[in-house]
């Protein structure tokens, strides 16, 4: 029988791991694609360096959060040497569990009337 892993066992996630999981939540991406998505989504606030990105990817592969995709996009559209990654079902559940954990923290902050930053969110978010 397949081992059922508890997503909460991996929490809390590091910011880099959570950003990578979110970048892969809607589509498969290669390393540079992940970096671009994170930068765009955070309005340039978060920039993953190559070391942080691949160090995190290595641990996420080992933890079963992501996997390397065997499918390749249209060769005419992209470099065939790039490796693409996608989030696993377990990775999805861990992302959800982390989001819930953060949501409850935000709820606690709101309940205690902690002032939130008024900086505008990036366009399109």
């Amino acid at each position: 029988m397949a081992e059922v892993r508890e997503p909460r066992g991996l929490l809390p996630l590091t910011p880099a791991v959570l950003h990578i999981l979110l970048a892969l939540a809607d589509e498969e991406r290669h390393g540079y694609g992940i970096m671009q998505e994170v930068e765009a989504r955070t309005g340039g606030d978060t920039r993953l360096g190559p070391g942080t990105l691949y160090g995190s990817i290595k641990r996420m592969l080992a933890d079963g959060l992501i996997e390397e995709s065997v499918e390749r996009p249209d060769p005419a559209m992209d470099d065939q040497r790039r490796r693409y990654y996608r989030v696993t079902d377990f990775g999805c559940r861990v992302t959800g569990a982390e989001a819930e954990r953060l949501q409850s923290l935000v709820g606690a902050a709101r309940a205690k009337k902690v002032p939130f930053s008024v900086r505008p969110l990036p366009e399109g978010s």
Partner: protein, 176 residues
């Protein structure tokens, strides 16, 4: 300043490939090529934005990322068993220097104990107490046993402070 963007890019890429040697070989073999490719992409993007390939700000960011993550990856490959004899040896060497005739610089001895215990604590942050004892035990042993100098016990306090500081710094780095 820049002759041609392509030439600057090529030099930067070569420098980055050399810097990748800071990572353990296994990590380099798995991700070195991908990291070099991502670096190339970032370099082009940076060139588009600032019209210079590899400006100082870009390199500072890149080097910071590389140094921190190479340290983390190296730390994972260090084995506990190989570190304990090294820690004991360092502790004994410091004691030898501290106990040598004419040596009267307690501050330097304390700094050596703190630094060695701190570096070991940073390399293997799960057992700071082990590094504190391995490095800091010898000065008190010699001080108390041979010279009846109980102030030498302070070396242990310094060693514990160093080892736990190193471990805390290392854990903070691990959350990158």
């Amino acid at each position: 300043m820049s002759g041609s963007g392509g030439e600057d890019r090529s030099i930067s890429e070569r420098v980055y490939r050399v810097l990748l040697r800071a990572y353990p070989r296994e990590f380099r073999e798995m991700y070195g090529r991908q990291m070099a490719q991502v670096f190339r992409d970032l370099l082009r993007e940076n060139e588009r934005r600032s019209r210079v390939a590899g400006c100082p700000r870009f390199w500072i960011r890149t080097t910071k990322d590389l140094a921190a993550t190479a340290f983390i990856e190296r730390r994972r490959t260090v084995r506990l068993r190989s570190l304990v004899p090294l820690a004991i040896l360092l502790g004994m060497l410091i004691t030898l220097v501290d106990d040598s005739p004419g040596w009267d610089d307690t501050g330097v001895s304390a700094a050596m104990v703190f630094t060695c215990a701190g570096l070991l604590g940073a390399l293997h942050s799960l057992r700071p107490w082990l590094w504190a004892l391995s490095v800091g035990l010898w000065i008190p042993v010699v001080g108390v046993a041979y010279h009846h100098n109980y102030e030498a016990l302070l070396a242990l306090v310094v060693a514990f402070a160093g080892a736990y500081s190193g471990a805390v710094a290392s854990r903070a780095l691990g959350t990158v």
